[in-house]
Symmetry: C2
Subunit: 231 residues, 2 copies
Amino acid sequence: MNNAHQIQTSVDPVIFTVFDMKLHILLVKRNIEPYKDCWALPGGLVDEKLDQDLHSAALRKLKEKTNVTTHYLEQVETLGSASRDPRGWSVTVVYFALVTVPEENLSAAHGASEVRWEEVGKNGVAVPLAFDHEKLVKAAVERLRAKVSYTTVAAGLLAEPFTFLDLQNIHEIILNRKVEKKSLMRRYESSELLTEVNETRKEGRMRPAKLYRLKDRETVHYFVRTMEGPR
Amino acid sequence: MNNAHQIQTSVDPVIFTVFDMKLHILLVKRNIEPYKDCWALPGGLVDEKLDQDLHSAALRKLKEKTNVTTHYLEQVETLGSASRDPRGWSVTVVYFALVTVPEENLSAAHGASEVRWEEVGKNGVAVPLAFDHEKLVKAAVERLRAKVSYTTVAAGLLAEPFTFLDLQNIHEIILNRKVEKKSLMRRYESSELLTEVNETRKEGRMRPAKLYRLKDRETVHYFVRTMEGPR
DNA sequence: AAAATAGTGTCTCTAAGACAATATGCG
DNA sequence: CGCATATTGTCTTAGAGACACTATTTT
């Protein structure tokens, strides 16, 4: 049992944000082989010296390749096989992260010559991705959709303060379908996670909406039922 | 970026079964350092030569250390850190597996001098475990309980054919609380996963229960609501 | 028929879906 | 005021919890 293991271990964060009424993920263009010049997730090898654990490895990747900060980071799944990387057996731990607004200062560094927010459509992203990253993205999107339909995580994507309409839009964009205004309202009321803010945003010539903040950006409420959508 | 990674990668299956009206997991006694003579999960290093991917690595461990077969194997989570193994940075992928009846012929082989089914109580197992295995067990038990409360996975633990009471017992044992007979019945009826079998089991001096089989042991039905239990 | 467990009926309750009805701020 | 959106009311429906009632064997 003393075979020196050469299994490469990496973390691959799928970083979600919403803008222009669309769900986006962050991609970087690889500038080394294999898959040079191909778009990929902003992940990379775990560094035994730098990283205390997997979670902090994922946070380090987030910080290095972008400089977004996140209020939510969750492990999705781990893929490992002999075939997923041409260089040999490899394992990657997929995370998904939610960030509010895309920062302008995305730093192209550490093996990334370019960084870009890419729209997530019905069938994932439009560009081909390196390795099995399309599969990883698919897994992360599925997890995100599932989680959004029975928790309050989606609220973490919003910049504060936000209106109820913002909240509704976020849900509809992520789930890619309409959600019932009243149902959503009831859910968030019962969660007691929102707090009204008494500022008000102008926004044109009609009744202005109330503004809300999360009492605690770290707390996620779990509901016992999933939102099913129209029958 | 060419540091030779020495991260050990292992899989640790948490193998569940139910007998004597109690939930049990399979443990092996380690016969090598570190944690020699300590009980541990029946896991071990991924073998680049033997294993095509993580899933088959988990199946191999299952087969090697025990010879149970399972109808259900699910990845739970991956833990990796510099500190969880005294020998250095390591990553382990935790799986949970459901097996029907404990087989008598547990083989003590491959680094295990003893194999044993250990009862899972309210706070995990009674014996101390090697490494961070108690944490891994806790994660697996939580996942199992969650899953049982909104899917039909529990049925996979039963030897066929089984009665409805068997099904109810399995749920109550895993969840560690009463479940409503009628609710459970409705759920399984709506899932359309069971098929009546027209044999009948004698069993003493009262009305015999209908016997069921799963139409397909691989299919798991997901409900949109969680069973909440008594209010 | 009595015992004893198996299986069903049915009432209540929670929360979601649907969508109508009001409320409110501004021009 | 009237527009346009915000917010609330409320009816319906699905499915869980509670628990009583009926059914079916065997002795």
